[in-house]
Structures are given as structure tokens and as C-alpha cells.
């Protein structure tokens, strides 16, 4: 006697074989241990727990936020965690703004980091198309690195790039990149002031200060010492999650200034 469809689905759910047949996703991690082959952990315990293990591999994810919101700090933390796992990582730095001392202080193993320095300039003057060409060039470099494959983490940092230069990129660019990275073990990360890949992205986290009541900038969230800047408190909010993480989850990060930074 044939079983009813509901009975079959019930059985499949019981055996946890329903991932491809229904829309229900399996639990985050049965043993509570993040799977490094599915996600790229950020190295921050609370954030990884919220993200279900980290940024998904085989997807294009985003770290967005305004200036001084901790995007670079989080990115360097991810690079450090990836290199500590023995992975090779690549950073396409569209504006050539990486501070090597900060990366070293964050724990990035620099010999495992392929740094591609872009030509985007913050003051193009009368050459309006200069940045557009440079962004497109950086995107091509990003594409080449993704095509090479087997990098653990590949980041495209356009955090300070002019917004119009990013917006003028064809939307299919991100679809193509997402298609390129699908099925691979690489976690692609875009860093910008606003969302770039939109629906192509696997995970989008937005960084900012004050969303969880940290107070006004400069009064409580940003700390200064007697010498120089000491750190600030950052809210990380998951605004889009295709894979395991739950949307609207919020995590508080605290950044600390490294020695000499």
C-alpha cells in the first residue's frame, strides 16, 4: 500500500533526509561544532555562533557598513582565522588601503595572503572614468582569483570606493561571480559601504555603532586612551542570510587597538 506524501515527508524529516526535498533546512550543527568545510569561521566566537559557523563557502557574502564601522577589522579577523587554519587567502584591495601592520597585528599570516593592489584613487580630478576603469579592473582581478580556485577566502575590498563607480557596474557582474564561486570551497567576501551583490550574496552582515544601544558615537562606543585610539564597540547585524544563519541576528563586537596601530 503506497504511503501518503505526508507520511513520506514525515519519515524523511525524521531521518533528516529532507534537505533537498523540502524547504526546511537541517539544524545548524548537530554537535554544535561548526563545519569548516561548509563555513569559513570568522574566529569570533559569538559571531560564528550567530552565523551558524561562519561565512558560507561557495557563496558571495558581504560586509557592509559606513566608514569606521569595523569592516576592515572584521575582514582582517577573518583573514587571520583562515590563514591560521592553513588556508591561502587573497585580498583584492581596490583602493590599495590595506595597512600591513594592522593585518599583522590581527594575526594574518602574511605569506599566505595574496594581496592585489588596485588603482582606484580617491581624487580622480577631471578623469571621471578613471575610477570606473579601476573598479572594473579590480573586479577582473577578483574574477581571476576566484577562477584559480582552492583559496579558502577571497575578499574584494571596495570599502572606500566611490559609490557611483560601484553602482555603474552591471548587476550581472555579481551574478556571474556568484555562479563562479558556487560549489567551490572558497568563501567570497565583498566589503563595501553599501550592499553590492544584493540577491546574489549568500550572507550580508551590516556593521555599525548604536544599533543595539551603545550610545552616541564618541561618548561611549569609541574609546580613546591617553596616547591614541583604543577601540570601539561595533554591532554586527545579519541582514540577509541564504544559508544557515538567521536573519536579524545581532552581535556586539569590541575592537581593541593593537600595539603600534
Amino acid at each position: 500500500m503506497p504511503l501518503a506524501r505526508a507520511d513520506l515527508e514525515s519519515l524523511l524529516r525524521t531521518r533528516r533526509l529532507d534537505r533537498t526535498l523540502t524547504t526546511a533546512l537541517p539544524p545548524l550543527d548537530p554537535a554544535g561544532i561548526p563545519d569548516e568545510y561548509v563555513c569559513a569561521p570568522t574566529g569570533h566566537t559569538a559571531l560564528d555562533a550567530r552565523l551558524g559557523g561562519g561565512f558560507p563557502r561557495g557563496h558571495l557574502s558581504e560586509i557592509v557598513g559606513p566608514r569606521s564601522s569595523g569592516r576592515t577589522s572584521l575582514l582582517l579577523q577573518m583573514l587571520a582565522a583562515a590563514t591560521a587554519r592553513g588556508e591561502l587567502v587573497a585580498l583584492v584591495d581596490a583602493l590599495d588601503m590595506l595597512d600591513v601592520a594592522s593585518a599583522d597585528a590581527a594575526g594574518v599570516q602574511l605569506d599566505r595572503l595574496l594581496w592585489v593592489r588596485g588603482h582606484v584613487v580617491t581624487n580622480p580630478g577631471l578623469c571621471r572614468d578613471l575610477n570606473q576603469r579601476a573598479v572594473e579592473q579590480a573586479i577582473r582581478a577578483f574574477t581571476l582569483v576566484l577562477q584559480a580556485g582552492n583559496f579558502g577566502l577571497v575578499a574584494f575590498d571596495a570599502g572606500e570606493a566611490p559609490a557611483d563607480a560601484i553602482r555603474r557596474l552591471p548587476f550581472t557582474t555579481w551574478m556571474r561571480l556568484q555562479r563562479l564561486i558556487e560549489g567551490s570551497q572558497t568563501a567570497g567576501v565583498l566589503v563595501g559601504s553599501e550592499s553590492m551583490a544584493r540577491s546574489s550574496s549568500g550572507l550580508t552582515v551590516k556593521l555599525g555603532i548604536g544599533a543595539s544601544g551603545f550610545g552616541i558615537r564618541g561618548t561611549r562606543a569609541i574609546r580613546f586612551g591617553s596616547r591614541l585610539f583604543e577601540g570601539f564597540d561595533v554591532d554586527v547585524r545579519v541582514i540577509r542570510a541564504r544559508a544557515r544563519a538567521r536573519e536579524d541576528a545581532t552581535v556586539a563586537l569590541r575592537t581593541l587597538a593593537a600595539c603600534g596601530a
Binding site: 569570533h44 559569538a46 559606513p66 569606521s68 564601522s69 569595523g70 576592515t72 577589522s73 575582514l75 582582517l76 592553513g86 588556508e87 590599495d96 588601503m97 590595506l98 595597512d99 600591513v100 601592520a101 594592522s102 593585518a103 599583522d104 590581527a106 594575526g107 599570516q109 602574511l110 605569506d111 599566505r112 595574496l114 592585489v116 593592489r117 588596485g118 580617491t122 582581478a141 581571476l144 582569483v145 584559480a148 580556485g149 582552492n150 579558502g152 570599502g159 572606500e160 558615537r217 564618541g218 561618548t219 569609541i222 580613546f224 586612551g225 591617553s226 596616547r227 591614541l228 585610539f229 570601539f232 563586537l253 569590541r254 575592537t255 581593541l256 587597538a257 593593537a258 600595539c259 596601530a261
Partner: protein
Amino acid sequence: MRNVTLESQSNPESHIPHPVFLYACLYRPPQSEPARASLAVIAQEFSPRYECHRDDLVSIDVSGLERLLGPARVIGEELRRDAASRGVRVHVAVAGARMAALVLAHARPGVTIVEPGGEAGALAPLAIGILERLDDVVGADPCVPPSQGYGEARQSAKRDGSRPGPTLRSGQARGSAPPSDAMVETLSVFKRWGLKTLGELAALPSADLASRLGRQALVWQAIARGDDVRPLVPTLEEERFESSLELEWPIEGLEPLSFVLTRLLEPLSTRLERRDRGAAVLHVLLRLVTKDVHARRLELPAPMRDVRALRTLALLDLESHPPAGAVDRVAVVIDPTPGRVLQHTLFTRAQPTPEQVSTLLARLGALMGQDRLGAPATVDSYRPGAFAMMPFATEHDDQRRTRGTRREQDEPDAARSALNVVSALRRCRQPVPARVTIDDGRPARVTTDRRGFVGGTVVSCAGPWRTSGNWWADRSGGTQTQPSYWNRDEWDVALNDGAVYRIFQDRDTEAWFIDAIVD
């Protein structure tokens, strides 16, 4: 007929001609003037089967050469005459055992001929100290363990796991090495036993000798008895890997050239694979219609023989260094190197292969410029934002590494914990000129003319942090943005628009700049 059949049945080997081996050894004694020809060249004139032990010692398989030259003595004389005509004075020994010929060539000048079967008798009167000069030759034999000392044979082999090195390849030069400590120790034991000649060593009972000095002593005894301890391993000529193609019609552009390169590289890759070799250097020689030769040399970061990778690298190089005219002849030469030995594992993450990384770096270099990619490195300098670019390695160990330098261990644990993130800077490679209003000795307002850096009122700040360096250097040196000399006061300021900047005032010009963004 029946008799023949019966005879062959009763003694089947009686009609099979017994192979007669004959080996010649050339030894060049130390001379004041350098040799004008190598012994390998002389050996090649007589037999393709020769083995170079050192640059002053070569053994040649001259079996069968009697039919061409005559008896062994004639062969020996021919060898000596040929060497003399090339200006090389050699000792020649011809014997039925290779090791016996090697020993006799060391011991006796001129030409020494030993009839087959008489090796032990010829060696017997030689002093036992001659073995010292053969220590490196025996140690280099692939089948013979390196000489080991008294009672240490097994322990030493287990301890260091040393393996004998291969015989010399053509072109390699190596002189006689001093005897090893183990050899000296073994010989001293022989002398304490009262042994003076090889004949006395040969007469010792083998089992007792092995029980006292180990297996290596049996090797020395076999040499003293005139026995070969291993067959001759011929030295192979280094194969040239080159291929060329004359074009009926000159070609221009890289696209048709890629097909030609593929056609040239494919057989070379097959030959490399057959020889277990990889390409270390790729030479592309293009003869132009102007009769000039456009030569490009690619040093590959890792041995590779993948046709697509080699072709892509060659094309990318030619793309950045195009020939000046049409090409009518294409030649590819590969400098070989031993191939890579890869051991894959299921327990570590796959990493890009050296071919992939090399191709990627070449493509990125063609796209962005060679100076725009690599691995960053810190430098030993207090200059803000100082860094160096290192070539990105194509091969990395796949082990998870733990950071353990002293400086990192000294850092506070809090900054390393998984609960905090180290705050980072975004450097402005060209510091942004700014206008800073000072109130009570502290920045109160920061504005710029730069698009994207609006500025605003300073909410809070910290500083100044005075830093200077290279004060001894020429102040006119360097660039405007990265002078070799710097002297400035740094401030970290939080503006009311939410941005946190690191600004500085140049103490010489009193001009303000935005140096970095805290992010």
C-alpha cells in the same frame, strides 16, 4: 642427432656461451695543471656504458670491445693513448670485475691488465689503506649502505636514515672526498688486528668479520676478494628538451602563436613526463622576419610540465613583451629539473597547485602590473604605514601553523581572544591634505577638499604622538608622500559624522594630513 640431444639434456648450459665481462677504469691522479678534458668524454669514445664516480674516476664497460680493438691490453693501451692525446695523464686498469679495476687504477700507474679470474691475486698484495680512497665511491653506490663504524651499523642507519647519493650525472663535477670517520675507524680496527694487505682481509672468515664489524665489513672484504658489490649503473647524458618549427608564412599576433606553442610544447611535455622531469626555465625563441631573434626567458617558480600552464605563461609574457615583427620560426627550449613528488592527503584542505598559482600570478601581473601583487611583509621601521611586497610563494606547506614568535606571544591575551577584534586602519597611501582648526591646543574641526572626506567637528581625540625618523637622511629625498625623512605629531580624532581618522601635522611645514581611517 640423438647424441646432441642427449648431451644438451644432460648439460643444458654447455652450449650457451658464457658472457665475459670486462671493465676498464680510468683514474686521473692529482695534477698541478687542470685537466683539459673530462674522463667522461674519453669514456664516451669507447663505450656508451660508463659510470662517472668522481670527476677523476670513471669505470667503463668494455665487454665486447675485443672484437673491435683486440685483447684487454690493447684496449687499455688505447684508453691511455686517447687520454694522453687529450692532455690527460691517467691510470688505466682493465679487469673482469669493476671494483677490482677501480682499486687497481688507484694503486698502480700506467696500464694494469688482470686476466679474468685473477682479480683476487692481483689485489692481494695491495696495502689495505687503499680502501680509504674508495670510501666515497662505495658509499655512493646505490646498493651499498654508507660505511659505518665499529658496532654502529644498525644503530646509525636507524638514527639518521641516511641514503647513499646517486652517481654523478654528466656535467656534474666532484672530487675525491676525505674518508668518513666510520671508514677511518674501521681501518684502524683492521690495523689493530694486524691486517696489512687486501689479501689478508680477503682471507678472514666472513661470518666472524660481519659479527664484529657489521655488514659493511663484508662489502670491504668482497672488494678485497675482487668481487663486484653491484653492477655498473651507466651515467646518462642530460637530455635536451627543445623543439622548433619553421613557419611557411610569418605569423603576427598571439592567437596563431598559441597554436604553434601548443604544438611545440605537447611533445616536450610528454618527454618530460617520461623522464620524470619538470620545466624549471622556459625559453621561447622567436626568429623574426627581420632576422632578429626575440628571446624570452621564463623562470618558473615550481617544476611544471602542464602544456596549458606553460603555454599560458609564455603567452602572457609575450603579451607584455611582444615581438617587434612577424615571426617565421618558433623554438622552445626547456631547462629540465626533477619533477615534484606530491603526496596528497584526505585530511587537509586542497590548495592551489603551483601551476595554478603561477598562472594566476602571471595573469594578475599582466592585468594589474607586477608591482601590484604579492605577499605583504612588515619591515623593521617605525615609519607609519611602512611595508614591503614579497613574491607570493607558489608552494605552501599545508600544515596549520601556530604563531609563536616572541613578539606575538608577548601581546596581551585580550587582543588575541576570540571575543575581541583587533581594530584596523585603512592607510591613505597619499595622505589627504586637511584643514584643522585648533582649540586649546587640540584639534577641534577637520575639513578637507577631497571628495568623500567631508570632515566635521571633532567629538573626541587623543594625542599628540610625536614620531620622527630618518633625520640623518637627505630631506629632499623620497617622494612628497613618502619622504625618507619624517617628523610629525599624530592625533586620532572622532568626528561628528561618525568617522575616526588618524591625522598628523608635519612639524616642518605645519601642514595637516589625514593619514588613515580607523575601521
